[in-house]
Amino acid sequence: MSACRTQIHLTVNGQQTAVEAPPMKRLLDVLREDLGLTGTKEGCGEGECGSCSVRMNGELVNSCLVPILQASDARIETVEGLAIDAELHPLQKAFLECGGAQCGICTPGMLIAATHLLAHNPNPSMDEIREGLAGNLCRCTGFIKIFESVIAAAAMRGLETRAR
């Protein structure tokens, strides 16, 4: 009793695309398997760790909990969309400079959650950064260097003009 595959149209990092997939297939799996965008990681697969964070129509979501049918006609932003040509996003530069990334599994989700935070709040306090990233777990850095990276990125010029 295989369900019908459905054609889904969506826009990923500004590119319109279409996939054919079972409607309950996770957005995470469509990104990684159908579209080859493996920057988005799977950690827990149950919405606890934030490794699979993407933005959907401007809202931060866990892509492991989104059935692809609900992403029909949606605008999706993944970590692959942060750098423009070879120019890293200020958050990516800051994570490099401040040691905000170690093993790298949480990093794409951290970058997306931090992008979302700074889009709403360009100069967050430490408490606001902690809350904004509370759904993203890192088991390497102890978080401090990640929070420092966000502060450094916020201080970089030109961030606001790039925030989408």
């Binding site: 309950m24 297939k25 919405g47 964070s53 809202e59 866990n62 909990l65 989104v66 509370a134």
Partner: protein, 279 residues
């Protein structure tokens, strides 16, 4: 082991009447899914029993916050992200706004809906204590029509409610008469962020000249009209220990939960006492 999406059906409807028609045609065979913060987790864990789902995500008829003179109505499809950032909810129903801000992470709050939190029927759900002390009414809708009942009468027991197989939660209605009340809400979990509740206590009260005029919480009968003395606090604690019926589960024991609930009540009454004596 993870479920296979090839074995599951998911349809979307263009309007609420379409959803209700589908549900009326085969009551109980369609499981509504909104933000997926519960059902997709069950899917990932391979413990999803249902096979046919109907999406409620994005239905405008369920996604509204209506502010009237005497009440605020919140559609079942409103996310906790919207609830916590809504100015009128924050000012009139701060306990609900605070509970919304505790639910999972920002990413979870952007997807989890008020109705989902309610119909899931978990005793650990964050919104229900606030809805109960605010005397919320719940409005249910099906193709047969809609009905409105006190939210306190909605849940029948663990994961059981009066919701019929062809019904959806249309809205919660909260009377706007609590802005002068002292309000209390505390959640006890393993840690602050992303932790599921073990015990929560919500309360609202009006205290004048050291006497409790109005109070809403589990042990209210022992308190209304009483002086806020140590004896009153002890009596209320005894009633609460006798009245609450927590469960044993993976997160905690019923015994622990009972005593923490009693401690929370005592903390609320101590706060009322301090406020009462300071002015």
């Amino acid at each position: 082991m993870r479920g296979d999406p090839e074995n599951l059906e998911l349809i979307a409807a263009s309007s609420l009447p379409d959803v209700l028609a589908q549900m009326a045609a085969a009551p109980g065979s369609w499981t509504p899914i909104a933000g997926g913060t519960e059902l997709m987790v069950a899917h990932a864990a391979g413990r999803l029993n249902a096979q046919k789902f109907i999406s409620l995500w994005g239905l405008a008829e369920l996604d509204f916050i209506r502010v009237q003179d005497d009440s605020i109505s919140i559609g079942g499809g409103v996310t906790f992200g919207h609830i916590r950032s809504h100015a009128a909810i924050a000012s009139d129903f701060p306990l609900l706004a605070r509970a919304a801000s505790w639910i999972g992470s920002i990413a979870n709050q952007n997807r989890a809906t008020l109705a989902g939190n309610i119909v899931n029927g978990s005793p650990a759900a964050d919104a229900p204590p606030a809805l109960l002390v605010y005397d919320a009414e719940i409005e249910l809708i099906s193709q047969r029509g809609s009905r409105r009942i006190p939210y306190a009468d909605f849940h029948l027991g663990y994961k059981q409610s009066v919701l019929e197989p062809d019904e959806l939660v249309l809205a919660l209605h909260l009377p706007r008469r609590f802005s002068k009340h002292s309000q209390y809400l505390r959640k006890v979990g393993t840690r602050k962020a992303m932790a599921i509740t073990k015990v929560a206590l919500a309360g609202t009260a009006i205290v004048e000249n050291g006497t409790i005029h109005e109070i809403r919480l589990a042990a209210e009968e022992a308190l209304r009209g009483r002086w806020l003395t140590a004896a009153t606090r002890n009596a209320a604690r005894a009633v609460l220990l006798n009245e609450v019926r927590p469960i044993d589960d993976i997160r905690s024991t019923a015994e622990y939960r009972k005593h923490v609930a009693a401690n929370l009540l005592d903390e609320f009454l101590a706060e009322l006492n301090n406020r009462g004596s300071s002015g």
